[in-house]
């Protein structure tokens, strides 16, 4: 869902306050970017420019950091982010077939968002609940011991 002007202004104020509070901490660039990612759901060029000005770090460097780490996204994500675990335990128990079925149902690839902005699929290496393999999460809901046939009904809940 796109943010309203007012929401953007509010979140920007929160980010600015966080920057002022922490700007002298050594190595604080990444924690600030994490905060921005958490607030806005992605890092827009405007956000990166703001961080650049406040910390006196070139935008190119911030862009370099943003594209290095999987956590940062340069585009907004869907309302529901689907993570299918493809860690080893899930993989040997058939996670690839589950991921293929999710892609098939939504008609998008990993890292993409559906046109209506409802779902995004992201690759996840290990969610750490290997006892439930294969596992996927949709935002904070966890679905375990999956079979590709379960996917359709699960997606229909959202």
């Amino acid at each position: 869902m796109a943010l309203t002007q007012q929401q953007i202004a509010e979140k920007t104020a929160v980010l600015e306050a966080y920057i002022s509070e922490n700007k002298d901490v050594k190595g604080v660039l990444i924690p600030i970017m994490q905060k921005a990612q958490e607030l806005f759901g992605y890092l827009s060029f405007e956000t990166m420019e703001l961080i650049s000005e406040r910390l006196d770090v070139p935008v190119s460097e911030i862009y370099g950091v943003a594209t290095f780490y999987a956590l940062f996204s340069l585009k907004p994500k869907g309302d529901y982010v689907i993570s299918v675990c493809t860690g080893t335990a899930c993989y040997v128990k058939g996670a690839q077939a589950v991921l293929d079925e999710v892609k098939n149902q939504l008609g998008i690839e990993s890292g993409e968002t559906t046109e209506d902005g409802k779902f995004s699929i992201q690759d996840t290496r290990c969610l750490g609940c290997c006892g439930l393999a294969p596992v996927m999460t949709i935002n904070n809901d966890v679905y375990g011991r999956l079979d590709p046939a379960d996917v359709k009904d699960i997606l229909a809940k959202y």
């Binding site: 660039l29 780490y69 080893t88 335990a89 040997v92 290496r125 750490g128 006892g131 393999a133």
Partner: protein
């Protein structure tokens, strides 16, 4: 600020508070008759343990026994496959796969009337046998061969309550170190114990400390590496979730030993529960004056900060981790200079893994000889493994080093599900190798695993059965490293990509004579030339599967056949003429009309049209279709 005397008082009181759980009758003087421990690890939380805890609280109130029973949220018990897990003390009754509907029955029957809910009791004593009567936890098949040192408090104490950690002799070692030992004495005890890094490489922990101590600087750092990136590994997360104070205490001890006053824990952002509990623990330690200035009235000062990882596997490599804490792209840097000389922000730094640190306070308390008495001569102590994949008891296990792999798979792990055959175990994740069924009696320690081309790794142990294709597994790990290669050095960036291209070809049935040799050549070049541990070890899964499963590679290349039937492009679906009744159901279900025939006579699959989706197998009621 608490003094050591105050800490001793808190300990005495807290010991009473947990006496029911420790089954210590001499101490239990409180009104509380029972403790109900509900697992709050990530696995059980994902299967609903938080709701179960809330329902317990409601049901206890409804029965009017809320003052007699204490509900405790703990860290991981280990048996994740059977979660959510609930343990009732003083009996030590282990209830597995508890659902929200079972809670009322446990309260009414067990907690009110003292009668166990037999259908939920875990009483597997190994070898597929059930116990006749009540069985103690450490007599069950899953627990009896385990030895919990690093995990000693996981599933025992409430990780969000510092007093419970203090009750189990927590912060005793820090007090002893600060008031009775010199930094050199601390280092020599740890050296003597034989403790080696549990993150994978197995470097002696005290040596790192010694190097850092000998580096002259007025600022030094202690870093805890909790960037547990191996897919399928969750040991460090469980320690942080179940016993976070043990890490804080060990970091402070290390700080005293090397002369550092600041520490960082670099932990994956994907571990929200671990991060939250660690943050609570740090706050509590600060309140008690265990972190801060003048700890226990001495001159020693120490504080710990959390830094969250941002999803880059390479940051588990120590120099890349430091670059990341400094706020940069997490690219490794060449060594020397080693971090002990020039590390975080250019200052001497030690980097220890979570599980390594979890042993430190106990070594100080119980002595080097105690630690050496476990494990083997060169690999002292225990090791935690995350058992996963095709195994019945998925979960977290801790064994003395040198325990044969067979014990882990067959006894603790409870064997392979649905009667399939054990094919291989993979240790060390994307840096490690596989152990084939023929070597199942290999003792699990640093040297033995290295000698068969695998490695200890950080502790992920993924089990494969006969249905897993080893070429596909090698491809899986290589895809991972290609994805995670930071791109700084050429061998890792380009050669791993080339290896993956070859593996893709092989699994698609386009393998050529000489591909195996090409893979080996590239692999050896990368091993010799890559900058950091990620690149140097990336070819290991390929080399080790070639070593033990060369025939599978050859079958893919020469016969265009996948023996395990897993590589889709090589699969052949055929209809057995004897079993086929000619009902035409499969032909109607086939999405590409690849099946033809005449009603009541055997149907045939056109291999050129078949897209190997498997719909026909699922539709056939007579089991006439098979995949080879």
């Amino acid at each position: 600020m608490k003094s050591l005397a105050q800490l001793a008082e808190i300990r005495a009181e807290a010991k009473k508070a947990i006496a029911v759980r420790m089954q210590d009758k001499s101490l239990s003087d409180s009104k509380v008759k029972r403790h109900v421990l509900v697992c709050g690890g990530t696995g059980c939380t994902s299967s609903g343990s938080v709701t179960i805890r809330e329902i317990f609280e409601k049901e206890l109130k409804a029965s009017g026994i809320e003052n007699e029973v204490k509900i405790v949220q703990t860290g991981c018990f280990g048996l994740c496959a059977l979660g959510p897990v609930v343990i009732v003390y003083p009996e030590g009754t282990f209830y597995s796969q508890v659902t929200t509907d079972d809670v009322a029955e446990i309260v009414n029957s067990h907690l009110v009337n003292g009668e166990l809910v037999q259908r939920l009791v875990y009483d597997d004593i190994g070898g597929g046998k059930k116990a006749d009567g009540p069985v103690a936890l450490n007599e069950t098949g899953f627990y009896k061969d385990q030895h919990r040192v690093a995990l000693r408090n996981c599933g025992v104490i409430d990780p969000e309550n510092i007093d419970e950690y203090i009750a189990t002799d927590g912060y005793l070692a820090l007090g002893k170190v600060l008031t009775e030992m010199t930094p050199d004495e601390v280092i020599s005890v740890v050296l003597e114990s034989g403790l080696r890094g549990r993150g994978g490489a197995g470097f002696p922990t005290a040596r790192k400390w010694q190097f850092a101590k000998n580096s002259v600087s007025d600022k030094k750092y202690v870093v805890c590496n909790a960037d547990e990136g191996d897919p399928g590994a969750f040991m460090d997360r469980s320690v942080l979730e179940g016993d976070p104070h043990a890490i804080i205490e060990a970091m402070a001890i290390a700080g005293y030993a090397i002369g550092a006053d600041e520490g960082f824990v670099y932990v994956r952002a994907e571990y929200p529960i671990a991060v939250k509990r660690l943050a609570i623990a740090i706050e509590q330690a600060r309140e008690y004056g265990i972190l801060g200035k003048n700890v226990f009235g001495t001159d020693f000062a120490f504080d710990v900060h959390i830094r969250l990882g941002s999803g880059a596997f390479v940051c588990g490599e120590e120099t890349a981790l430091l670059t990341s804490i400094e706020g940069n792209r997490g690219e490794p840097r060449p060594r020397p200079p080693f971090p002990a000389v020039k590390g975080l922000f250019g200052q001497p730094t030690i980097i220890n893994n979570v599980e390594t640190l979890a042993n430190v306070a106990q070594i100080i308390n119980k002595g080097a000889d105690w630690f050496k008495s476990m494990g083997t001569e060169k690999s002292a102590g225990t090791k935690v493994f995350a058992l996963g994949g095709k195994i019945n008891h998925t979960g977290l296990v801790e064994i003395p080093m040198g325990t044969p792999l067979r014990t882990m798979i067959e006894d603790i792990g409870g064997g392979i599900p649905t009667g399939k055959k054990f094919k291989a175990a993979q240790t060390g994740g994307p840096s490690g190798g596989c152990i084939p069924a023929s070597l199942i009696d290999t003792p699990v320690d640093y040297e033995s695993l290295m000698s068969i081309g695998s490695m200890m790794g950080s502790g992920g142990l993924s089990v494969m059965d006969e249905d897993n294709c080893m070429v596909d597994i090698a491809k899986f790990f290589l895809e991972f490293t290609v994805d995670e290669s930071c791109g700084k050095c050429t061998p890792c960036r380009i050669s791993t990509r080339r290896m993956l291209d070859i593996l893709n070809r092989i699994t698609e049935g386009k393998g050529e004579e000489g591909d195996i040799e090409k893979l080996e050549e590239l692999a050896n070049n990368i091993k010799a030339t890559a900058l950091c541990g990620l690149g140097q070890t990336a070819p290991n899964p390929v080399l080790s599967t070639i070593r033990y499963f060369r025939d599978e590679y050859e079958a893919h290349i020469k016969e265009k056949r996948c023996p395990a039937g897993q590589c889709k492009a090589l699969a052949r679906f055929t209809i057995d003429r004897e079993l086929c009744k000619g009902c035409s159901l499969c032909a109607r279900k086939c999405p590409v009309n690849a099946i033809e025939g005449v009603i009541k006579s055997p149907f045939v699959i056109d291999q050129d049209k078949c897209i190997k989706c498997g719909t026909c197998i699922d539709s056939c009621k007579f089991g006439a279709i098979s995949k080879k």
